[in-house]
Symmetry: C2
Subunit: 467 residues, 2 copies
């Protein structure tokens, strides 16, 4: 009378995995996830081939996937982000079909529309009951929000819940409920807590980073958006976190009552909530233990699905109400196109995640990046890979000045009025090249290793192998 099956193997069989199946995973356990490897090893052991894996993100803990690719067990990858270890292998061309990169908003939209139908979703659940009601808020492997798993649960033909904290029915207030669950498997551990919420992201102490962060805060102030009702998203990078810190100081000093903080949530955002800078947090993913603790206990800290976070097909998403987003870049070109997929060697080491979703939605989309990294200029004529279209980027903040997208002259005027050192993006490119010299252009190979699919489903760019 319940949905608990004894072994993962039995669940895989019951769910009907077969050659050519598409299976899916969420990435809330981040670099501590055990579930993807556990499932893939089992599937490989059962002799299945030609599996398509749709994982909301892939981390280096998933490196065993490389062997499954080489053995023909996995022949298709769909993801929003891929860390450098796996990315380097993909860039060498180990997979015949190009990886399909989507955004955190585009992924659920395409699952719901049926563009990327899922046969079996394997959902790592920090707590689940015997009928498959699940939550990420409690359990030894608590990850907080389970936002990226909603679309998988709602749309997959079969849903297998894998938990290391099986509780009696009914689990109160599940994140995802039993109406979507087919089977429940209890395992010893779904992840390594140290990797799930690494808690290592710290505000930068690098002087260049601090200059950029302070400038970013001033740009937001000068934009006129920093007033009561202000809403804000920032990533977990050191410089963007520092910018959030400066912003918080301004908000507290000036008594500005913001509306919401959004996105992947860090303890810094939780502090801003608790200190009154925001009325609430909209959380699709927790980055650290403080965020997990907050979403568990604070009713103003709302768990949301990836659809509500960022889907372009939702009737509205949180990103559509966002005032300001602070984003990073590995490259930005003079048309403000941004690369967050590849590193300076052209190898895959990232992905859009929510980058292009928030850039499209926010009133002010700001890139924070130093003029150069490892003696390579950040501003280029053409990005090696277009992750986010320049039309959605409003401003680039560097340590040597702020470039405003020429499509936003009214913003440039406001920033100048606010005393910001506004420069032409070509000047920043020249300044960088003066420092570093003009870099040798990367030589693209002849094999497409990844397609960059924009949030609206169009093909934005292709990534080629590296020679």
């Amino acid at each position: 009378m319940d949905k608990v099956v004894k072994t993962l193997k039995e669940a895989i069989q019951l769910a009907g995995v077969k050659d050519g199946s598409r299976i899916s995973f969420h990435h809330h356990l981040r670099n501590g996830d055990y579930v993807l490897n556990m499932v893939m090893d089992e599937i490989a052991g059962m002799g299945y081939k030609d599996i398509s894996v749709n994982a909301s993100s892939l981390f280096d803990c998933h490196l065993p996937l490389v062997d499954h690719i080489k053995n023909g067990v996995v022949t298709e990858l769909i993801t929003d982000y891929m860390s450098g270890g796996i990315g380097a292998q993909i860039s060498e061309g180990i997979l015949e079909k190009p990886v399909q990169f989507r955004t955190h908003g585009g992924r659920p939209a395409d699952i719901i529309k049926g563009v990327t139908p899922i046969d079996v979703a394997f959902i790592a659940a920090p707590t689940a009951d015997t009928m498959g009601n699940m939550t990420g808020k409690i359990g030894k492997s608590a990850c907080g929000s389970m936002g990226y798993a909603y679309a998988d649960a709602m749309c997959a033909k079969k849903v297998v819940v894998i938990t290391d904290n099986l509780v009696p029915y009914p689990l109160p207030y599940p994140s995802i409920d039993e109406t979507y669950a087919d089977y429940v498997v209890s395992v010893d551990a779904i992840g390594n807590p140290a990797g799930i919420v690494s808690g290592t992201t710290k505000i930068t102490r690098d002087p260049v980073g601090l200059v950029m962060a302070q400038t970013a805060a001033k740009v937001i102030q000068a934009s006129g958006l920093l007033k009561d009702g202000f809403s804000f998203q920032t990533g977990a990078g050191g410089a963007t976190l520092a910018a959030a810190q400066f912003l918080k100081e301004i908000m507290l000093k000036e008594g500005i009552k913001g509306s919401f903080g959004c996105g992947g949530i860090t303890g810094y955002m939780v502090d801003m909530l608790n200190e009154g800078c925001f009325e609430s947090l909209i959380d699709v993913q927790c980055f650290d233990l403080k965020a997990v603790e907050s979403i568990r206990t604070n009713p103003k800290h709302t768990e949301v699905s990836a659809m509500r976070y960022a889907s372009p097909d939702a009737k509205s998403a949180a990103v559509d109400s966002l005032d300001v987003v602070l984003l990073g870049a590995t490259e930005i070109d003079t048309d403000f196109n941004v690369n967050v997929h590849t590193n300076s060697s052209g190898k895959i080491m990232g992905g859009s995640g929510g980058h292009s979703d928030t850039a499209a939605g926010a009133k002010l989309a700001m890139i924070i990046a130093p003029l150069s990294r490892a003696r390579l200029p950040i501003v280029t004529d053409h990005v090696f890979c277009k992750s986010t279209p320049g039309s959605t980027i409003d401003v680039l903040v560097t340590q040597k000045g702020v470039a405003v997208n020429p499509a936003r002259p009214e913003l440039a005027a406001k920033l100048k009025d606010g005393g910001i050192h506004v420069v032409d993006i070509f000047e920043l490119k020249e300044a960088a090249e003066k420092l570093c010299g003009q870099p040798k252009p990367l030589v693209k190979g002849d094999k497409v290793v990844a397609d960059i699919i924009y949030r609206d489903g169009t093909l934005l760019d292709k990534i080629y192998n590296v020679r």
Copy 2:
């Protein structure tokens, strides 16, 4: 940049209502609802005709609907329950097409499957923000759970949120979120709080009712189901509430720790939660203010969608995990088929609601009914209208003995062992007829006024007009 439109009329226009549209409503505001009439009056005033109305239930506060039917504005009704004032008119044949009666679980299943697609859902929201995130837990018209509105929100082409408590974005932890909302309309009042949660349901003091209630509690005890992990649903009728009260006393005395209480939730169920009889409540609808206060403040009191409550198409629903449900009947026949749609005159005055869903799901589905009402026997050869199939009913409790469905001999044996006075259902029929005489059979008219559609989509019965 938000979804607020100035008037209901504008929202109706923007949502594209036209001749022949199907629109929907939920019934959480019960007999205090203003929204259905408000919308229908506006639509009538705009000159639209041939509207299909899918309302999860209809109460006598919706009597103005009768005029809209007579004027040809409304030509189709789909509902799960209809109170006597409207029911009497329908029974006279004012509507050309038969009313489609579904169950609380079948309704969302058919909406989601596309059997009854909705053009525009009008959702009364006790609190909503400017992007259409909504909750029933707060606001002057708070109704608690909004469980019946989920399918409408998720599947309607357009969703209009109507609220009398518009709050800034983002409302934390909405019941239904912005991804589904198209337009938001602010009005003075969505309902009359006195009618929303009447709070008038009291435990019966009628001696016959108390005898039946005590017997019902003993039957549950004798069935062997009353042990740790016990789960339970009861309606809001006086005798079933009294049975719950006796059950609570047994549970407290014997230290039995139940699992969950389910269904439309009353203050009596809240007391059972608070006194430790249950670990949690699963709430698709709040019947009184105590339930509303509890769902707002107690994290063990979980709001659920109608799908999670009772959908036969969900991978599981709460009713599937239910041990015992106590239900009423206007008639029950010797095959245990139950009528809850028509009164002794054959006129419509009710509907299945969750009756057949819980009967199908629960391990023990019990009807509590007196042998006769107003000098008419309750047990008959054939019910005038089959609302719930006898195959799903396990036992009938009357003041003169307990009849067990012959398909459940092991249950009959247990009850006898437990000292319960078990009788044949034909004996109960005879006893009733001895008291009241054999009633004159109702004469059916020749016009079908309603179809009873079972939770699996099959046609269970038809209701004819009354001559």
